[in-house]
Amino acid sequence: MSSEARREPLIEVENLYVYFYTYAGVVKAIEDVSFTIYKGETFCLVGETGCGKTVVSRTLTNIVPPPGRIVKGKVIYHRDGEEVNIIKLSEEELRNIRGKEIAYIIQDPSAALDPLYVVGYQIAETMVDHGTVKDFKEGFGRAVRLLKEVLIPDPERRVKAYPHELSGGMRQRVVISMGLSNEPKLLIADEPTSYLDVTVQAQVLDLLRELKGKKGLTVLLITHDMGVVAEMCERVAVLYAGNIVEVAPVDELFKRPKHPYTVGLLRAVPNPLTEIEKLESIPGTVPNLIKPPSGCRFHPRCPHATEKCRREKPPLIRVGPSHYVRCWLYAGKGEEVSRSE
């Protein structure tokens, strides 16, 4: 792709397996997931409910909630030139990374904020916890600047506001400012706008894009909305039922989708700017991951499924520069690789 200097990896996930040991059985939430997030890019994980996108994001700081467990795999974090495996780190070392070097913005801003404290205190607290500032006094000062940065009008007054005094969009901006407060190396935004209205969503997405440009942030964006993907991302990984089925740069993915699931997904979204006679839908539903389908997990819903798809798990195939797909249709049409970028 572009210059080699830009493609310096920040996070490399390798052959990750996450299982949930529930009473009903072992949920194979994530199986053999690998991807790389490069410094300075916006990488997107897209997929439907239950595909495991949030679980993947949690493994990056090893906070998979029980009964989930990382069964196998590596999460390599390039920390100032040295490589550390997040999964092997102790709780104490992880605490230094979480919220400081890798920060989260979660979906529901009202759940992320404690209703009992003013927002300034909560922003200051994340900084005090990680030693970014000396005390709360300095923290409040920084909080005002942060709120200004996320374009909250009248930040001197808003810093003393309780979460319920702010609107949904404002609250999400506060959460973003909390995520940014320690100047993280990686910002993980998990469906940052799905609780917001369209006009407000557009504002928040604009803000994220602006901040990214200004601060040179690396962002991992998790979403189910193909529209958000198209507007925000540089590279995209499509997740289906705990597997990455396709990884590609965003233009490539939308122009030349390869995996039947990606193709179906793109055709199923009604684009308001174009004329649609009939939406194509993907038949069936997302499989139960306690007993996932054999072979390719998409085969029961795939229009091109063959006997081979039912039996064998497809390999990852490189079909173009930086374009990888996990599908038997492309066997022989590209080089088989063990992991994608």
Binding site: Y19, T22, Y23, G25, V26, D32, P66, P67, K72, S294
Partner: protein, 379 residues
């Protein structure tokens, strides 16, 4: 691929057999039943499996069930009648006056009149059981009805019912019981003595001699007092649960189909809140035992009947003589029954909620096994 079959415990097999038996009985009467209710049967199985994995729940169930069983068959298996006296029977005053446990024939010892404590305990279990069975259903039915109405209709009706409920909650139950007992006991005793059917009924359900039936008036007046103080708890809980349940869209959907209010309350709201109510009911069995024992402890001196509370009260006078068993043994019986129901109620809370039921973490042993297999698969 690792196959996901549970290692079934012995208890699970027993549960399967129990459910298979139940299904067989139901299909005797309704042939089509199993085909239509297969999902429900699966859910039952899962509930029992969850219970089987909760040792505390099982302990609670065993204790609670043994309380019921002893309550039913206690008077039948008792070696003597509750008023049988070893002193009267043998004339050995010295041997049987406050005889410690194990003294010839008296397994749990005797009291000052030489009565067999074991027999008294077994008869007492019946009394506790019957009181519980009389108090709870009435409190539950009144409470649930009022709570449903208050929660469903809301507004003025809710306000009125809940303020009345508050009044009853503010009423000291103990004083009410004392007053009622003073007012009611004599009249009730008279009624029982004068009506041969009533005498028969009372002596039958409490397993006392017809002569003692009128002495049960005291216990019955406690029952009446408990009716009055027991329902507000249910009214409150039911109202809260109803308020939650009525926000479910399926209630609105039923309304959009023109379903009547009574229909919505009985078909959609009640079945969905019954689980939480069941937990309270289970725990309340213990509470009734405890409160009833406490009240009969207070009235004990006048009672000739073998109520657990009364036995403790009577026996406490002889604690100075070193007769610990007269207090310890009935005390222990109360403790164990109450504890059993509470433990079972607690386990029930987890079992009845389909979400917690499913998310109970599976055995660790299984985890290791599958992780090894996952390693092989990837290679």
């Amino acid at each position: 691929m690792a196959e996901e079959v549970y290692e079934k415990k012995i208890l699970d097999r027993f549960s399967d057999a129990l459910i298979a038996f139940l299904v067989k009985i139901i299909t005797l009467f309704r042939k089509d039943w199993y085909r239509r209710n297969r999902s429900r049967v699966e859910e039952w199985k899962l509930m029992l499996y969850a219970l089987n994995r909760s040792p505390i729940g099982i302990a609670g169930l065993v204790l609670g069930m043994s309380f019921i069983i002893v309550g039913i068959i206690g008077p039948i298996i008792a070696p003597h009648s509750y008023d049988f006296s070893f002193i009267m029977a043998t004339g050995q005053y010295k041997k049987y006056f406050l005889a410690p446990p194990g003294t010839g024939g008296a397994l749990l010892g005797t009291d000052d009149l030489g009565r067999d404590l074991l027999s008294q305990m077994l008869y007492g279990a019946r009394i506790s059981l019957v009181v519980t069975a009389l108090v709870l259903p009435v409190g539950i039915i009144i409470g649930i009805m009022l709570g449903l109405i208050a929660g469903y209709y809301g507004g003025i009706i809710d306000e009125f019912i809940m303020r009345v409920t508050d009044m009853f909650l503010a009423f000291p139950g103990l004083i009410l019981a004392l007053a009622l007992s003073a007012a009611l006991t004599d009249r009730m005793a008279l009624a029982i003595a004068n009506n041969p059917y009533l005498t028969g009924l009372v002596s039958f359900i409490f397993a006392v001699k017809p002569n003692d039936a009128l002495n049960m008036a005291q216990t019955l007046s406690i029952v009446v007092a408990l009716w009055i103080v027991w329902w507000p708890g249910y009214a409150r809980l039911t109202r809260g649960l109803t308020l939650q349940a009525k926000n479910n869209v399926y209630v609105e959907a039923a309304r959009a189909l023109s379903m009547s209010s009574v229909g919505i309350m009985t078909k959609h709201i009640l079945p969905n809140i019954l689980g939480s109510l069941l937990v309270l009911m289970t725990m309340d069995v213990g509470s009734v035992i405890l409160v009833e024992a406490g009240l009969s402890f207070l009235f004990g001196a006048q009672m000739k009947i073998p109520d657990w509370g009364a036995i403790v009260q009577h026996g406490s006078q002889y604690l100075v003589n070193g007769a610990w068993w007269l207090v310890m043994i009935p005390g222990l019986a109360i403790l164990v029954s109450v504890l059993g129901w509470n433990l079972f109620g607690d386990a029930l809370r987890d079992i009845l909620d389909p979400r917690t039921r499913r998310s109970i973490e599976f055995k660790v042993k299984k985890v290791k096994k599958t992780s090894e297999e996952a390693g092989e698969v990837s290679k």
